[in-house]
Symmetry: C2
Subunit: 240 residues, 2 copies
């Protein structure tokens, strides 16, 4: 089932079998996306929205010197560009960080779908607002946390989201972001990310190596990152 991870583990995910079937029916072919491939460029008119089935993608913006700022990271079950449905154009680029599988829905089908199933429409709206809530948390992260807190927060958030779709085992999860990617997400240099990761590892909180992250002490890491997961609107059992 293509939509099995959409809003999985989130509060309010009362999608009926009928709504689910209607959404499934609107989906196109499953497509692979190569690692590091850019899917959508800023300003492009978009005519469909894409559900991420597996892998990790990101949204980013470039500054004038071409330095990249990640504004979001996406995992399985996320609609990566549903914002493009009401907005029509995206204000940022969308790229794959690892090899991914995706499936798309044309916007005219989404229009029909939301008119025939207003509640499903609100669920989609809801999912874009979780993106907005994550954006706010990223603003907080950059504005108020030091380097160790920023990295800790990013890893805690990723852990919580991946756990909600069953992609964490014993605190360990796939983590295709390079130190450069993490730097671009956290407003730091890759050199400083390297030193900060070494410190977090030495504190026994987390190890990031070989495209995998292992959180040894979630509570400790959450303390450093001032991480409180309420903004993810997870079901109680999906938390931590």
């Amino acid at each position: 089932m293509l939509t099995e991870n959409f809003l999985r583990g989130r509060r309010r995910q009362e999608m009926s079998a009928e709504e689910n079937a209607a959404l499934e029916a609107a989906m196109g072919e499953v497509r692979p996306v190569a690692a590091r491939q850019t899917l959508i460029r800023r300003g492009e008119r978009v005519y469909q929205s894409t559900l991420l089935l597996s892998g990790v993608m990101c949204r980013y913006m470039d500054d004038r010197q071409g330095e990249r700022q990640l504004v979001a990271v996406h995992f399985a079950g996320d609609f990566v560009d549903l914002h493009g449905f009401p907005l029509r154009h995206l204000d940022h680029d969308l790229a794959a960080l690892s090899a991914c599988r995706v499936v798309s829905v044309p916007h005219d089908r989404l229009t029909q779908l939301t008119e025939a199933h207003p509640h499903l429409g609100r669920l989609m709206w809801f999912s874009t607002l979780i993106d907005a809530a994550m954006h706010r948390e990223w603003i907080f992260r950059l504005g108020r946390l030091a380097a160790d807190g920023r990295i800790a927060h990013l890893l805690c958030e990723s852990h919580a989201r991946l756990a909600a779709v069953g992609l964490v085992q014993d605190g360990r999860f796939d983590w295709p972001l390079t130190q450069q990617d993490m730097a671009e997400a956290c407003g730091l240099t890759s050199v400083h990310v390297n030193r900060t990761l070494a410190k977090l590892r030495a504190s026994g909180l987390v190890t990031v190596a070989n495209r995998q992250a292992t959180i040894h002490d979630f509570a400790g890491l959450a303390l450093v990152g001032e991480f409180e997961p309420d903004y993810l609107y997870l079901e109680d059992e999906a938390k931590g």
Copy 2:
């Protein structure tokens, strides 16, 4: 007309007279809000959404030591907590920065409204996604710009949004944010905001004083702040 500034100056603002009337009819009483008053606290269940008619409000989050991070600033015509409609709870606080006038719509009326007028529902969705686009731009601002750029960007964005609702005359607009508020929006200290504002003034770009901001050289300020207004989805005539 209460809704006259809602989505005013934005692309896609094709609200029909009928939609407009339906939205107006759902509105409650106009209420005043005192400056510095907190309207909604993080985690509270919300049952209505509020349209800002005049004044300036902000959304913010506190870190563990009680230091505040602004995550959004709102002006006349903005729905300040429409996110609470699909989300039910807010993940941040909402407060007035100046004396404001607001009007609210109960969420059950919004549900009826969006089911009877799917297109109006998409417009509301659209407006929350402009908030998300601004959030992304704030992430960029904090992650990639130095102090002068962050302040320049904030002032350019505010100028563009206020101009869209007719609240700028000759580059001058009401600006109730203190230097401390600007510091909390830009991830800086108020001391550094003070020094940076002095520098921007000395460069002939902008003057901020007496609760007013005057942009002397918009192009120059936009250059410092790497400001490109496409993310605001403004109509062409409302830009600059």
